[in-house]
Symmetry: C2
Subunit: 398 residues, 2 copies
């Protein structure tokens, strides 16, 4: 995640996980603050919340520094977030979430860029194009559909929540849930909702649809073919104003939303600041892990330590320390074993920790200054001097 | 910090900042839990504390996994810690603290290793040997001095707190504070306390002093000369059992403890687990920053982005994207500017963000596929093809 963000010129930011509770009351909706956050009164009698999401924090940070920062602002962070909810697949009380945002531009190329970054992260994970799809919608289009059939804001909200749960409902359940709000128009509404392409939409002026069409076209032009329009895509947060998107797992055993985001041009307005256009997404570590495991893509996490050097006794330790210092100065991570156990035991421990190389130093090495490097992955052994150790480890093997 | 820890073969661990309050009641002493922590009752009616230090957490983690982990266990982490205290120089309510620990060995080489790591971190910061000193003490020696003069544990505790504050007291204040507990023995006690070398100590068997002497000798043998014995060094935490050490700033304007640690062989015992020998230290980011600023060593933090490429217009953007993709594949971090502003404005923004290189792409570049790379540090300009961009950025300049 970090690699892709930095490749695209995004800068890392960070913040305290403790925030004034009012930051969330302002925009996340009472549901989260009321039922899901960790809240406390601090020793200074302030209402404090451990952050359940990062967007309000970053929006405030941008608002505070808007005059000084060169725009557009490209920022990312991988904060830990906290929600008191029932732990279940894909949801834990604490999780880490990549947040990628670009502030200060309403260019369609900003939308292209952030979606492309999501795609590149998936590719960096080793995912194939057929293992996920990118669904795109535009809140303005669906809003116009809502307004054709519904006049009351609370009805629009209720219908959007039903559509958000569409995948979990049968066709009959879906229709009957909608009927309460749409009455005789339900069938007609469902037909309009089930368009499979932007070209079938007749309830909005063509020029309003053009931006969404252009976005999909430009993504396809950049080589991303697993992208499609989905008028039923809602995304939870109320602050999205325009484009929304979602990466969706196509595997039958993990057929769920992986992550998503959208454009939120009015968020700073909610904080009483000058409006600034913004688009971003959040990607949680737990859902990412579920995806990787489902598709057999979990990376093989070896140790960061390259080499364990074991000293046979007090007499060989000074040479071990001298060699270790030289290797460390060459960028090699070296653990010295000074337990003076049998070499086999040290080797077994190194192997268990997934350290790839091992050297034992005793009387012979002290005399000869030649070392046998054991490659614990292949079992291969090489007799070399210090320079040879460096070449063995930092060479093609590193 | 991270670099040095990994060079020495230490592995990174992490944990949630939320802990059950009882974890701290068990060992940090009521003072911290009672007055300085952020506490809350969670929605499941549990007493929860936002961690004020990492040692209880890591001790519990090691206790949980003691049977499976190959020993000795070398671990480091850079967690954020929280204390509700008056913000002041060197102290904030949230700070990050490197924690380095080695568990499962009582070898003196473990003591040497962790102190050496602290020294290497200071050197890695650019510090000179005369900018700091490493003070070493042994709790067992000072305990034996206490027991010669005091029989009551609470008196020993009170006297150790007075010695801990010695540097902040005048000679008279120090003596009169001690007098309350030591009476007529005060002068004698102060004389015994002010030894400048281990060789002057006569109140403990020589063999008991030998370990401390060996430690200092081995540190000096590894090239660390700014190390000395200090019988008045206490260190706050009650769980230290043996060696304690402290890195101290020698600058007259920042004459204070930078960080320290010690051996705590009984900590797991407090959790009701089998004892395991351990030594480690904690180094806070705020005190580290004060040191760096005082000594003019703050690193020059340039952007992680290597290059900004600006597109003149829609027509030049496809080429910009193509070049950016090729550069990103070569490990170069590239920001694309698609604002279509005047190039000077984009360049000024890149310079403000401390991005070192800039390229403008317009009609000429679309035709020629040659680019002028501007080095924003030197002002130098180079006309090159894509390969040339890669060489300019990843070459000697990177």
């Amino acid at each position: 995640m970090k690699e892709v963000c930095e490749r695209f010129g995004y800068e890392n930011y960070n913040a305290s996980p403790l925030e004034p509770t009012e930051l969330y009351e302002a925009k996340s909706g009472q549901e989260i603050v009321g039922n899901e956050t960790y809240n406390m009164i601090d020793r200074g009698d302030r209402k404090v919340t451990i952050r359940p999401e990062m967007t309000p924090t970053v929006a405030r940070m941008v608002a505070d520094q808007m005059r000084e920062l060169p725009k557009p602002i490209r920022w990312y962070s991988i904060p830990n977030l906290f929600r008191y909810e029932r732990p279940q697949r894909g949801r834990l009380r604490e999780h880490y979430q990549l947040n990628v945002d670009i502030f200060g531009t309403d260019s369609i190329y900003a939308d292209v860029e952030v979606i492309q970054m999501g795609y590149e992260i998936m590719k960096n994970f080793g995912a194939q194009d057929n293992q996920f799809v990118i669904n795109i919608n535009n809140r303005k289009i669906i809003q116009s559909l809502f307004e054709t059939y519904l006049s009351d804001d609370s009805d629009i909200y209720a219908v959007s929540k039903i559509i958000d749960k569409k995948k979990k409902l049968s066709e009959e359940e879906f229709a009957s849930s909608l009927e309460k709000y749409l009455g005789g128009n339900t069938a007609d509404f469902i037909t309009k909702l089930s368009v499979s392409s932007l070209n079938e939409i007749d309830f909005m002026p063509a020029e309003e649809l053009e931006k969404t069409r252009q976005l999909i076209k430009k993504l396809q032009g950049s080589g991303i073919t697993n992208v499609s329009f989905d008028l039923t895509l809602m995304r939870g947060f109320d602050y999205y104003t325009d484009i929304v998107f979602e990466f969706f797992d196509t595997h039958p055993e993990n057929n769920r939303s992986l992550f998503g985001g959208g454009r939120y041009d009015d968020l700073l307005d909610i904080f009483g600041m000058e409006k600034i256009p913004a688009i971003g997404f959040g990607m949680g570590d737990v859902t990412a892990r579920d995806f990787l495991e489902t598709h057999g893509l979990m990376p093989d996490l070896a140790s960061h330590t390259h080499l364990v050097i074991a000293a046979q006794d007090e007499d060989s330790l000074p040479l071990v320390q001298e060699v270790a210092t030289e290797l460390r100065d060459s960028g090699i991570n070296v653990e010295i074993d000074f337990t003076f156990r049998k070499f086999e035991k040290v080797l077994a421990a190194a192997d268990k920790k997934r350290v790839p190389f091992f050297i034992a130093v005793g009387k012979n090495e002290v005399t000869s200054k030649m070392y046998q490097v054991k490659d614990l992955t292949t079992g291969e052994k090489m007799d070399v001097d210090v320079r040879g150790i460096i070449e063995t480890i930092t060479g093609p093997k590193k």
